[in-house]
Point group: C2
Chain length 300, copies 2
DNA sequence: CTGAAAGCGCTTACAG
DNA sequence: CTGAAAGCGCTTACAG
């Protein structure tokens, strides 16, 4: 029989199957930007884990718009996906309730939103930043600058809070002209670093709140060589392809990105199975600190 | 009526619709690696264009395996996708015939395969490399090294051929110890560059055949500063986030990545509409050369 | 254990 | 023009 089947080149029509079974074996993934290393790593983790269970992944780009995010959600619900994983585009989540109304499990990744709670997988940005800055301050760093993101972005907020709190607890007064905020993109990192370094008394240790601004900072440094303080030190959130490139000593806060994706997939699969134990479950995965070129740095 | 519909929160069930209409309004995207900037840019272009026509995109990771690629294809066909876009994982394409047998249009991206022909969208790697090297040679460069990929990869082959041909036509004999081949990943670029630079007579101009090996090269340089020839010059395929970071003057061959994705989507949509004009259509999009820090470089 | 029938939620061709 | 019926390709509950 199998032979006849394969000879006839028969393929089940999963559309018909889904109509009957009410399961499509597909999960939607919505993200604010899909050509972005961080997002892709998450997507890989998600696809990996889903694939193991026979599920496939429909990717929709919300292009940083809550409106498009809502449209994406509706599209996915019409497609009868069994679950949805979303990196939210904005800070509000009212429209996300659509998924739960349709009884489709929804898991958030990387960011939490206001007015709406559901399962989520992310890291503790505040705590991770706090620990890194505290470690540096304890190691003798005293002059800190900060290159952050806009406060309406959840991760930008948490990272800034951790930074400021660490300075306070270490008795280091933050200097306003050393606290700059950009848009989490490369150019912004470049210009804010330029701004910091051109100040009469630039900070010696600069914390950069995301990977893309970190790239911008590295780009600035690679053009300015010689004109930057010899004792410059960088700390940055995320650890990816380029985190190791900088010739300036640095500390990266590494998120377990693959794990974030896999855990989000795991969670959505669990909910699809109908297991609603301790919903909503906000899972914070541990970060790691990784240092580069650190060996010769002064320790008082 | 619309009010009643929206009040009742009614959503069409596209599964039922698809069963009847025989169209799922979905397209599969298969790639050898999904956490990869190049691939993501392509995916963005594809998603953009598909979204404009109401199609969505199912992403499957073949993880560089022709076997998994074939499984992905079967999965997508069972899901009744209306079309498929694939970046092939290997150099053989026999198994890809499955799609056409099932009368599902298939468009290849970035690479062509043996034993199988269908629509494709890519660049002319050979020609682009040839032009860049010829331009450099004409500008006075005489000592070339090459950091390439394995010959079973289509783009690696084309880029190497263009390089060698350009040297020949410029009367520059290639030196065997300056021609090295890696695996298109970061580490490989690092080590091959190290190998080149530690030779008694290192090449002054190094052509790097892909973006990830280029990152590895930049990483090596950023660690070795001072110990590299002052007249070192880099040429590299692809132009992305980090291409601009290098402090060494360089030339990037930029592929129109978004356009590649959009054109692939356009082609698959055309075939889905039933328009089979001039199939198979191999579309080669133009590349651009972009130079960095070039202004003070010697021109004889 | 086997095989015919009903039904999933749409669309479409057709009868009234 | 409107409304009931058939059918898309499966699965599943049921009759034989």
């Amino acid at each position: 029989m199998l032979d006849a089947v394969s000879l006839l080149n028969y393929k089940v029509n999963t559309v018909a199957r889904s109509l009957k079974s009410k399961r499509t074996l597909s999960v939607g993934l919505i993200a604010p930007e899909i050509d972005n290393v961080f997002f892709m790593r998450v997507a890989r983790g998600v696809e990996d884990r889903l694939g193991e269970e026979g599920y496939s992944m429909i990717v929709v780009n919300a292009r940083e718009s809550e409106l498009r995010e809502e449209a994406a959600l509706e599209l996915l619900l019409e497609k009868q996906v069994d679950g949805i994983i979303a990196i939210p585009s904005g800070s509000r989540g009212d429209h996300l309730a659509l998924a739960l109304q349709a009884r489709v499990p929804l898991v958030l990744v990387d960011r939490l939103v206001e007015n709406f709670t559901t399962d989520a997988v992310l890291v503790d940005n505040r705590e991770a930043t706090y620990r890194a800055i505290t470690r540096l301050a304890t190691g003798g760093h005293r002059s800190f600058g900060f290159i952050g993101g806009q406060p309406h972005i959840f991760t930008a907020r948490e990272r800034y809070q951790g930074f400021i709190q660490a300075l306070r607890d270490q008795g280091i007064p933050p200097r306003e002209e050393h606290l700059l905020f950009g848009d989490f993109h490369i150019e912004s990192g470049y210009h804010l670093m330029k701004n910091l370094m051109e100040q009469p008394d630039p900070p010696r240790t600069v914390m950069i709140a995301n990977y893309f601004m970190h790239i911008g900072v590295i780009r600035y440094i690679s053009f300015q060589r010689g004109q930057i303080p010899p004792d410059l030190y960088l700390a940055a959130f995320d650890n990816m392809e380029f985190s190791a490139v900088s010739s300036v000593p640095s500390l990266s806060i590494a998120q377990p990105i693959d794990q974030i994706g896999r855990h989000a997939a795991e969670r959505v699969l669990q909910r699809i199975q109908g297991d609603n134990e301790n919903w909503p479950c906000i899972e914070r995965l541990p970060t790691k600190e990784i240092t580069y070129n650190d060996q010769h740095h002064h320790q008082p």
